[in-house]
Symmetry: C2
Subunit: 526 residues, 2 copies
């Protein structure tokens, strides 16, 4: 007996080492693919996309083989069979790795390959369809994407509602029931709020604004537009990175068409990007603050998570809770506007000579129902998401046909935001998500904003004076709190587990709605 036990424990030790080696290999393949993607978005000569595609396809195939080969499956199943002897982290690694393998194994190989091909085509067609404002062209591909998502969910989790399956994929623990309650809370308080702001603004424009008169000026966004040389804006980016507490030894800044954040191989190397608009003083700054939040989360993983599948953020929802916390809750607070305005006065003296912190604060928080999600303000943003949620939920349930999506899209934009959608390219064709197969992904954007507000309240209970720290431009206490409560855990806990640990109370969207209403009261006097 003694001999057997010894042998068993040697086997387990070896398997643990193999598990670490496997993940190190996976990280290296990820490193390669991430840096090839990053290079393509930032530096590569224009004509080299095809060359990258050739290498990417080989590397993703090699990495897929590594993750799904007999040897890997045997290793993981062996470890799974002895999971009680593994650490909490190892258990989670094995669970996440096996989950992917088992899901993929349930999809017939030919259908899986056909779907990958479909996505490539669908994205191409979507690009052209958007350019040509031609939804009919995209419709059959979009229908196939929805159909395949329903079918695959049925293969993998026949016991689940298909949309629930996908919601849970993007935000572990999320389902329609939770979303319904969440979005209903948002809808019921934000739609009237936005309507009221619309009325105040309209009255002011027509010169009958008693509320505006009571509470000072309404927001004037025009103070943010002018001529802001890129060189100066680059200096601003550096200052913002320093204030936000980004470690430039491990977090780099580059320029791309659309801002994003990516880790390169591990949390030791994170890149954020921004886009400079010469006519807009704050667009790039808020991109940097936002992506900086993602970067802080990624880079904040515990040291022993590097080169494992637990490295980096757990979900889009938690990720957005960090980025939007920094961008909106801090970055658009009155306190931070006081902090940053002197930098604008220094860099762009003529433009900001007569601008007060109050003017600046109002301008960067102006609420204006609009057509395009990515340009929406903090208050209307969640309604853009709500509309997408309602639509994809109904299509997945067979209650709405893909053919009828544009009409419903336009109807809901009118109902919730009060805007008329003039064409599909500024309507149902605006986002890339569906063409990429990401159905069930949108809700996490709105959830993240709401999580953030509850983190803010929790910080307050923990005696962190966020407002004061924002005003003096010292984020160290805020970063320390998030860097202890949230960032180090990587993918160890599900979003729900993490929220329970951090909040010590149930998630409640009303905290977020209270926050938004208070801000609007301050700005619009309503």
């Amino acid at each position: 007996m003694h001999e057997r036990t010894q042998e068993e424990s040697m086997n387990l030790e070896k398997a643990r080492k193999d598990l670490a080696a496997l993940q190190r290999k996976m990280s290296a393949y990820n490193h390669a693919q991430e840096i090839i993607y990053f290079d393509g978005a930032t530096t590569a000569p224009k004509g080299t996309a095809e060359n990258r595609a050739v290498s990417m396809s080989v590397l993703s195939e090699e990495s897929y083989k590594l993750c799904t080969c007999r040897e890997t499956v045997d290793l993981l199943e062996y470890l799974d069979s002895r999971k009680d002897e593994l650490s909490e982290k190892e258990q989670r690694m094995v669970y996440l790795l096996l989950k992917d393998i088992r899901s993929t194994a349930k999809i017939p190989r030919d259908e899986y390959v056909a779907y990958q091909d479909l996505l490539v085509t669908a994205e191409d067609v979507w690009h052209t369809a958007k350019e040509k404002n031609d939804f009919a062209m995209f419709e059959p591909y979009l229908k196939q994407v929805f159909d395949t998502n329903i079918k695959f969910a049925g293969y993998i989790a026949p016991e689940m509602d298909p949309y629930d399956y996908w919601l849970n994929e993007y935000e572990e623990g999320l389902d329609k029931k939770t979303c319904d309650e969440f979005f209903e809370a948002l809808r019921s308080r934000l739609v009237p709020l936005i309507k009221k702001i619309g009325e105040v603004t309209a009255k002011s424009c027509s010169g009958e604004g008693p509320e505006a008169a009571q509470t000072g000026k309404l927001p004037d966004k025009s103070i943010l537009f002018g001529n802001f040389p890129v060189e100066k804006q680059r200096i601003l980016s550096e200052r913002i990175m320093d204030i936000e507490g980004l470690d430039k030894n491990h977090i780099g800044l580059a320029e791309t068409e659309h801002p994003f954040t990516t880790s390169i191989g591990s949390h030791h190397d994170v890149r954020i990007t921004t886009h400079y608009y010469e006519d807009n003083a704050v667009s790039s700054m808020y991109s940097v603050i936002h992506e900086g939040g993602h970067a802080l989360y990624d880079a904040g993983s515990a040291e022993d998570l590097a080169y494992t599948v637990l490295d980096g953020g757990i979900s889009m929802g938690i990720h957005e809770s960090q980025s939007r916390f920094y961008e909106n809750i801090i970055g658009r607070s009155k306190a931070f506007c006081k902090c940053i305005l002197p930098v604008f006065k220094e860099l762009f003296p003529e433009q900001f000579e007569n601008v007060s912190a109050e003017d600046f604060y109002k301008a960067v928080n102006a609420v204006e129902p609009s057509l395009i999600r990515t340009e929406a303000d903090e208050v209307t943003y969640s309604l853009h998401i709500l509309i997408r949620y309602e639509l994809e939920k109904r299509v997945m349930a067979g209650e709405l046909s893909v053919h009828d999506l544009p009409a419903e899209w336009n109807r809901l934009y009118k109902e919730y935001l009060g805007v008329d959608v003039p064409d599909d390219k500024r309507g149902v064709l605006q986002d890339t998500h569906w063409s990429g197969g990401a159905i069930g992904y949108f809700p996490s954007y709105a959830l993240g904003s709401a999580y953030g507000a509850q983190f803010l309240r929790r910080m307050g209970k923990d005696a962190i004076d966020v407002e004061k720290n924002a005003e003096i431009g010292d984020f160290s206490k805020i970063n320390k709190w998030l860097g202890e409560q949230i960032w180090p855990h990587g993918e160890l806990y599900t979003p729900r587990q993490l929220l329970d640990r951090v909040l010590g109370e149930a998630f409640d969207p009303n905290v977020y709605l209270d926050y938004l209403e208070a801000k609007c009261r301050d700005i619009y006097g309503i």
Copy 2:
């Protein structure tokens, strides 16, 4: 019989496809490693080197396994056994792939690994030793590097002289005999030439310069020094790339500490780098022209060589023949100086207001014996190489101990270049090559320059008016000639075969020496 033949031909067809697939995979691994390296040199945050090292080590191991696994060896040996049925290109692919595998197989695995470790340490130690000007510290490692090179050559090619083996590794077909003749030709004409220039210069300084008086002013390099903002130099780089005919869709320019050229995955994506010195008007320009030459060669591989081992240049010697052809033979010609001076007058009007094309031409061609190889002018450069060649040849033959290298180095610098070496960091410790194990590599630098001069003569025979094309800044005819004669062949032909095809006559260093002497006659009136 008929059946068997059909089966055989099917097997061969499959093996050919597998050969293509194997090389495509190898290219993808190269792509990953090249872009990780490039990112590290250009964009990555400062603290991320270790993170890259982790991924690089995995990727190089995976790629090594791919190249040497049983399946690959079987495939290559099968194809080798039927090589008469393969195309010329396939034969060469199989030859090159097998050559590497067979060489490596002859080295005991533990010695191979120990040597890789030695090189990592040796390079580290070299860095410190150079910094501290402490050769004694580096000596034991350098001795081990030389000893291992001798030993490994003995394992792989016991019938060959060890140094011949390594020369042939870096420049297929090269041996000591050829090098001896080549360098003797250089020594016998360049050493007196440089001495004469030194005399003319000294007389001029002491005011007794009859030659200088006869032939106008001596070169005045000071006109190239001043204040040249990086932004302006970046504009110059763009112009140079256009004039040189670099296709910016496939060739990118970045900034690094030391300029280099690298292909990313295939010849469809080539990157060059430069370094801007604000006080030097031409340093970066000549880097761009030089690296541009490498890039044209790499990018000029025939389309069907992409994603094969034949893609890119055949050897360092031929590579330098291209880069130095553009940099020196064209870029430092009087004709090109006439072409480019107006751009300098436009970008830096004050500095170049009173500078003539003749002044500029002389300044960029000033001959000055100096200590540092990488900063040497066109005429003295080859003597820096000659010294390294003589020294490593004698160490490899056991005629000179590593311990005595510094003294011999200093003696030869005095003898050939007339300069006193004040310390080892500006002497024997200046280059990284030996610490990296690259023994036998240096000669290719000098050979390249000499090849280039003979290409120039050949172009003339083919009725290309290089001088006129340089003067009007239109390189299309020159690029077309090189793009037909040299670039498309990639690694298909050995350097010797390529030279035979292109020159139609024996390689003769006197063509290069004639060229150099003529230039010096023009500039120094000697």
